[in-house]
Amino acid sequence: MKKTSILDVISRKLSPFILLFGFYLVTYGHLSPGGGFQGGVVIASGIVLLLLCQGTERVQKLFPLTAVSFTEALGFFAFLAMGFLGIFLGSGYLSNFLPIGTPGEVPSAGFILVLNIVIGLKVGAGITLICFYLFKEED
C-alpha cells in the first residue's frame, strides 16, 4: 500500500497547532477550562499524530526518547519538591507558598500555575512514552 503524502503533509502542518493549543490549555488552566492533565493529553496527541504519520525514527529526532523520559521523571520529582517547599515556606506539605495575586489575571494562582505546567509536561511526556512503546513494538 503506497504511503500517500497527504498524511505526511497534513501531520507536519497540523501538529504544531495542536501542541500550541495544548500549551495554552496547560498555562491557562487556572483561568479557563483546562489544566495540567487535559493540556498534557492534548500535547501528547500532537506528538502521537506525528508518530503515526511520520513513523518513530523521524519523530525521535524531534522528541528524543531520553529527553521525553527525563522530563517525565523530572516532572514527578519537581512536584514532590514543590510539596517539600510547602513545608518550609508555606504552612504544611503541598500548601501554597507563592503570592496569590488578583484572581482573574494570568500570573494569579501562584503555586497552582507552576504545578499546572509541571503536570502538563509530565502527563504529555508520560502518555507519549506509553504510545511510543506500544507503537514501536509493532514495526
Binding site: A73, G90, G92, S95, N96
Partner: protein, 575 residues
C-alpha cells in the same frame, strides 16, 4: 513532634525512589542500595520519634496542606496506624536486604518496591475515601509489576489475573464512594461515620454502599469469595516480593477494611467477616495440604492465616480483636521468614516441588533452623509468637463454638502441612543428592532421571551473597522468638492502642490447659500428615490439585461475594 510530620512516612520513600531512577541514568555510580538503606532507616527513626506520644494515647488528625473547608484531604495517625507502619517498614526493609543478596534484581526492582512502600503507608494513614482509592491504586499497580517481575509466563498470567480482579474490585469500591458522596457531600471518614450513624439514604442504598466499600477492599484482603487470585500471584512472584505480598500488602488493606467496618459499626459486616474468615481459614489449610509446590503451599497458608485474622476481628470481643491485631504482626514476621528461607532453598536446588527435594537438613543446618523457627511459630508452638496470638483469637472466639472448632481443626491442618513441608529437610530421598562438585557422566544422568534427584549448588555458585541473604532471616527469627516470649506485655500494649483501656482480665497463655491442647493438636497434626501422604492420600491430593479456577470464575466469585454481602446488610436493615 508536629503532626505535619505524618506525611513524611509517604514522601520519604518517594524521594528515595528518585535516587533509584538516577541509577538508570548513571549506572556506574551505585546509589540504589545506600538510598534504600537511608530511606528505611530514616522512616524507622521517624516512627520511633512518634512512638512515645502514640503509646500515651495521643492521636494526630491533619488536613493535608492546612487548607480550610470540607474539601481538604484528611490523614490520621493513631496507635493502630503506628503498628501498621512498623509492620510495613520492618518487613519491607528485611525483604529488600534479602533482595540485595541476589544480583538479578536491578535498580527498577527497588524503584517499584519503594513506591509500593509509600503506597502502603498512604493506605494506612488515609482518613479520606478518595485518597484511600488513590493509594490502593498505587499499591495495586506496583504489585502487578512486581508480581510479573520475573517475566516468566506463569507470573505474567498470574499478574494479569490479579490486575483484572482488583480493577473490578476497585470499580465496585468507587461505587461505594459515589454513594457516600451523594449522601454526605464529603469524602472524609468522619463523614462516613456520620452517614452510618444516621443514614440519610434508604436501606437498600446503605446496603449497596457498605457492600461496595467492604467488597472493594476485600478483593485485596483475600477473604473467602475474593481469595482466588492469591495462591497464583504470591507463588509466581520473586521471593522477596511474595514475602512482601503475603506479609504486608494483604495486611495493609485489611487495616483499611478494619477502619471502615469500625466506622460503619454495622453488626452484619462483623458477622459476615466472622463466618467468611473461618471458612477462609479452613479452605486455605485444606488446599495448602494438597499442594506439591513449596510456594503455592505457603501462599495457601497466607489465605488461611488471614482467615484467622479476619475471624478474630469479626468476633468483636476485646480479646479476639487485639488477638487478631497481634496475629497481623506475628503473621507478617513468620510468613516472610518462611517465604525468604524457602526462597533460598528454591534458588539453591532450582526445584520447587516437594517431591523432588529431600535431605537438605544435613547440607544446610542453618536454613533448616530458620525454617523450623518459622514453621513452629505458624503452627502455634509455645515459645513462639504464633502460639500467643492464636490462643488469644481462640479464647476470644469461645462464644462462637462453630468458629472455635473450625479454627481448631485448621490449626491441626496447619501443623500437618508444615510437617509435610519440613520433609524437605529430614526425609531422605531414595537417591543420594548429587552435589554440584561431582562431575555428571552422561550415563549417570539417564539412570537418575527417573528417581527424584537434584543438584545442590553452593551459595556462591548460585550467585548469592551469604550475609545479605542470612541477615534478614536471623532478624526475623529473633523477632518471632521475642514477640512470642514477651507475648503478654505486647498484648497489653496492643489492647491499649486499640481500646484505649488496659485489658480487664489477666490473659496468661502459659496455662497447663493450653500446653495440653497444643500437644493434642501436634499429635493429631502428625497423624493427619501420615494420613495425607499415604497411598490413597496422594491420589486424593492430585485430584484436588487438578481443580483449577478459570479467570472468569474468579470474577464471578467476586460478584457473588459482593451480592451476598449486600443482601446480608440489606436484609438486616429492613424494619
Amino acid at each position: 513532634m508536629p503532626e505535619g510530620g505524618i506525611v513524611l512516612f509517604i514522601v520519604v520513600p518517594l524521594a528515595g525512589s528518585f535516587f533509584t531512577l538516577l541509577e538508570k541514568i548513571w549506572p556506574d555510580r551505585r546509589i540504589t542500595k545506600p538510598s534504600v538503606l537511608l530511606v528505611f532507616l530514616s522512616c524507622l527513626l521517624i516512627l520511633l520519634i512518634y512512638a512515645k506520644p502514640i503509646f500515651q494515647g495521643e492521636e494526630y488528625r491533619i488536613i493535608l496542606g492546612n487548607w480550610g473547608g470540607p474539601i481538604g484531604i484528611a490523614q490520621a495517625m493513631d496507635g493502630f496506624a503506628w503498628v501498621g507502619l512498623f509492620l510495613v517498614y520492618a518487613v519491607t526493609f528485611l525483604a529488600l536486604i534479602y533482595a540485595f543478596s541476589d544480583k538479578t534484581y536491578d535498580s527498577s526492582f527497588y524503584f517499584f518496591s519503594l513506591i509500593l512502600t509509600s503506597g502502603m503507608a498512604g493506605v494506612i494513614l488515609a482518613a479520606d475515601l478518595f485518597n484511600l482509592f488513590v493509594c490502593l491504586e498505587i499499591v495495586g499497580i506496583s504489585a502487578y509489576i512486581l508480581i510479573a517481575y520475573a517475566k516468566k509466563e506463569r507470573s505474567i498470567l498470574a499478574s494479569f489475573k490479579y490486575l483484572l480482579l482488583s480493577s473490578l474490585g476497585i470499580s465496585i469500591f468507587l461505587l461505594g464512594i459515589f454513594g457516600i458522596y451523594r449522601n454526605t457531600g464529603s469524602l472524609l471518614f468522619s463523614g462516613v461515620a456520620g452517614y452510618f450513624a444516621s443514614p440519610t439514604g434508604s436501606a437498600r442504598e446503605t446496603a449497596l454502599i457498605l457492600a461496595a466499600l467492604i467488597a472493594g477492599l476485600g478483593v485485596r484482603t483475600a477473604f473467602i469469595p475474593f481469595h482466588t487470585w492469591l495462591p497464583e500471584a504470591h507463588s509466581q512472584a520473586p521471593h522477596p516480593v511474595s514475602a512482601l505480598l503475603s506479609g504486608v500488602v494483604i495486611k495493609v488493606t485489611f487495616i483499611a477494611v478494619w477502619r471502615l467496618s469500625v466506622i460503619s459499626g454495622s453488626l452484619e459486616v462483623r458477622n459476615f467477616l466472622l463466618c467468611s474468615g473461618t471458612i477462609t481459614a479452613l479452605v486455605g489449610v485444606f488446599w495448602a495440604l494438597m499442594q506439591k509446590e513449596i510456594k503455592v503451599l505457603l501462599a495457601w497458608h497466607s489465605v488461611s492465616q488471614m482467615g484467622y485474622i479476619i475471624a478474630g476481628f469479626g468476633a468483636g470481643t476485646l480479646l479476639s480483636v487485639s488477638g487478631s491485631l497481634f496475629h497481623i504482626l506475628n503473621h507478617a514476621l513468620f510468613k516472610s521468614l518462611l517465604f525468604l528461607s524457602l526462597g533460598l532453598v528454591i534458588i539453591l536446588t532450582n526445584e520447587d516441588s516437594l517431591k523432588k527435594i529431600g535431605g537438605l537438613g544435613r547440607k544446610y543446618p542453618l536454613l533448616a533452623l530458620f525454617f523450623t523457627f518459622g514453621a513452629l511459630s505458624i503452627a502455634g508452638f509455645p515459645p513462639f509468637n504464633g502460639f500467643v496470638s492464636k490462643k488469644l483469637i481462640m479464647v476470644g472466639l469461645k462464644e462462637h463454638p462453630a468458629a472455635y472448632w473450625t479454627l481448631w481443626i485448621t490449626s491441626v491442618g496447619t501443623l500437618a502441612s508444615f510437617t509435610k513441608l519440613s520433609a524437605l529437610f529430614w526425609k531422605k530421598l531414595k537417591k543420594q543428592p548429587l552435589s554440584q562438585s561431582t562431575p555428571l557422566r552422561k550415563g549417570d544422568l539417564q539412570k537418575n532421571s527417573e528417581e527424584e534427584v537434584f543438584q545442590i549448588s553452593s551459595m556462591k555458585k548460585a550467585g548469592l551473597n551469604k550475609t545479605a541473604a542470612f541477615f534478614p532471616l536471623v532478624v526475623l527469627s529473633i523477632l518471632c522468638l521475642i514477640t512470642g516470649l514477651f507475648g503478654r506485655p505486647i498484648f497489653e500494649m496492643l489492647h491499649f492502642l486499640i481500646f484505649r483501656q488496659s485489658p480487664s482480665g489477666i490473659f496468661n497463655p502459659w496455662t497447663m490447659e493450653n500446653l495440653w491442647e497444643t500437644f493434642l493438636v501436634t499429635s493429631l497434626g502428625v497423624f493427619s500428615y501420615f494420613l495425607v501422604t499415604s497411598r490413597g492420600g496422594e491420589v486424593f491430593q492430585s485430584r484436588i490439585r487438578s481443580l483449577r479456577l478459570s479467570l472468569d470464575w474468579t470474577l464471578v466469585f467476586l460478584l457473588a461475594g459482593f451480592i451476598s454481602l449486600g443482601l446480608t446488610v440489606f436484609l438486616s436493615k429492613l424494619p
